[in-house]
């Protein structure tokens, strides 16, 4: 590893901007967020960056490092090679300033999902076999890297039609809960827009919590929607039974 490394960091806001390069002295085990902090402390005190835990737990420091969505606090400089490191804000959300984006759309989506409605009030006796699917989904740290990389939101800006992978795991978690009583299948198809996902798995590739978003949440939800909305035999059986 070299003694200094050059970071090319986006400076600007939603109206535009440009990358500026900064030389940063390298120390053992340094991560991109350390380098950005060095810039903030020594070279550009007005550089805006959102962070909190520096331990890949809070999900605040999401950015695009050399074009790849990653957590800045979890990306070591030594895995990025010796060239210039480009650091840009997440592409799918409006830039507030520099590396800080406005992710509030996600919170609005979260409020639209019909909430947990148990058959009777807690506490419940829960068996491990029934909770292990949702335990995986609850590892989510809401970094929104999956939302950022999803081409439905990133390239086509179909935010009004598709809730994105982070909220598909939320819906799956609620739907697979044995105590929940709400049917979200119609919501999943029409409002959440599960049909917009084409299972290309980029969300799963970038998730820092290694949640199998596509395999364990989206595909199972597509299959549940197929049961009710596309499977002709099941539809016929339901029609005969009058449900």
């Amino acid at each position: 590893m070299k003694d200094t490394i050059t970071l090319s960091v986006f400076r600007g806001d939603h109206t535009g901007g440009e990358e500026r390069s900064y030389d940063v002295p390298v120390t053992e085990g340094m991560v991109v967020l350390d380098a950005v902090h060095y810039i903030q402390q020594h070279l550009a005190p007005d550089l805006a960056v959102r962070w909190n835990c520096k331990a890949a737990r809070c999900g605040s420091c999401s950015a695009e490092i050399n074009g790849r969505p990653r957590l800045m606090c979890k990306t070591r400089l030594d895995v990025l090679g010796e060239g210039v490191i480009h650091v840009r804000p997440m592409k799918s959300f409006p830039v507030i300033r520099d590396l800080v984006t406005d992710v509030s759309w996600n919170y609005r989506v979260a409020r639209q999902i019909p909430g947990f409605t148990p058959a009777h009030p807690a506490p419940f006796v829960m068996h491990q076999v029934d909770v292990e699917r949702s335990q995986e989904f609850r590892k989510c740290i809401e970094c929104f890297l999956c939302q950022n990389v999803c081409h439905v939101l990133r390239d086509h800006d179909l935010k009004s039609r598709y809730v994105g992978p982070r909220f598909m795991i939320k819906i799956a978690e609620l739907e697979m809960h044995p105590m929940d009583t709400v049917d979200r299948i119609d919501f999943t198809q029409k409002d959440a827009g599960v049909g917009y996902c084409n299972v290309t798995k980029c969300c799963q590739e970038v998730c820092p919590e290694h949640i199998h978003i596509t395999d364990n949440a989206i595909i199972p939800m597509k299959e549940r929607v197929a049961d009710e909305k596309y499977d002709p035999v099941r539809m016929l059986v339901r029609a005969i039974r009058g449900r």
Binding site: Y22, V149, H156, G193, N198, K222, E223, R224
Partner: protein, 248 residues
């Protein structure tokens, strides 16, 4: 000190050992060459039988049932639709052929995107039916694999017998690792602990989940095994090679 540089190009350099286009290119080449081979095989031959060996392209043996016109086409529509609607192959062709997207964080090729919400791609939601049909074909392929060990002189093991057995095993694992099957056996349940039957389904679901983690690998291995099995039998029929017999 800080200095202005030109804005980053749209496809920045990535910290990867392999360039982004390597995977789509490999997929296009593999699926493209296989499709051309399959077309040649199906359109220019009327039978895939060599004594007790039957090519998977011609099984079930509709030729012996009296179908004389392009018998392979009567067979191949099932595996074709099964694979075309498979969740793994969907990922593969959306990325590699449609470029929707070609690689993660790379721009999509086309501006108008509707995903799987419209015809024809909405048909992918019927994958479960093509899975069931493929189990019918699989039953014939198991029968063929058993027949491949019974020569005119009785039981024996030839290289072809082994190839046909490996092929049907790989096809079986590929089918049993299917996402739709995973859903049917247990994924659709919310409560596994609620009954004894649900716990049995949970065990099955767990097992399929393990196989499903390697679904892409089984998809490719079984595609290549079908290809190798057919090519081997085609070469036997043409007389270009002889079948080594290990046990007579």
């Amino acid at each position: 000190m800080a200095q202005a540089v030109t804005p980053q190009a749209s496809s920045p350099a990535r910290p990867r050992e392999v360039p982004w286009w390597a995977q789509p290119l490999a997929t296009v080449v593999a699926l493209g060459v296989f499709s051309l081979y399959a077309l040649w095989e199906a359109l220019t031959h009327t039978s895939g039988r060599y004594h007790n060996y039957l090519s998977p392209f011609f099984s079930p043996d509709v030729h012996s049932w009296g179908v004389r016109v392009l018998p392979a086409l009567w067979v191949l529509w099932v595996p074709l639709l099964f694979r075309a609607t498979c969740y793994y192959y969907r990922k593969a062709y959306y990325r590699s052929f449609f470029w929707d997207p070609p690689a993660c964080a790379m721009p999509d090729a086309k501006p108008n995107y509707r995903g799987e919400t419209r015809f024809p791609l909405v048909i992918n939601n019927l994958h479960r039916y093509f899975l069931l049909l493929s189990f019918v074909v699989l039953a014939f392929l198991w029968k063929d694999a058993v027949d491949a060990f019974f020569f005119r002189s009785g039981f024996g093991v030839g290289l072809g017998s082994i190839i046909m057995l490996v092929n049907v095993v790989l096809l079986t694992v590929y089918s049993l690792s299917c996402h739709a099957l995973r859903h049917l056996v247990g994924g659709r349940l919310n409560c596994f602990s609620c009954s004894r039957g649900a716990m049995v389904r949970y065990s099955l679901w767990k097992r399929i989940t393990e196989w499903n983690e390697r679904h892409a690998m089984w998809a490719w291995m079984s595609l290549f095994s079908v290809w190798i099995t057919d090519l081997y039998i085609r070469l036997l029929i043409s007389g270009a090679i002889h079948d080594p017999r290990f046990i007579r």
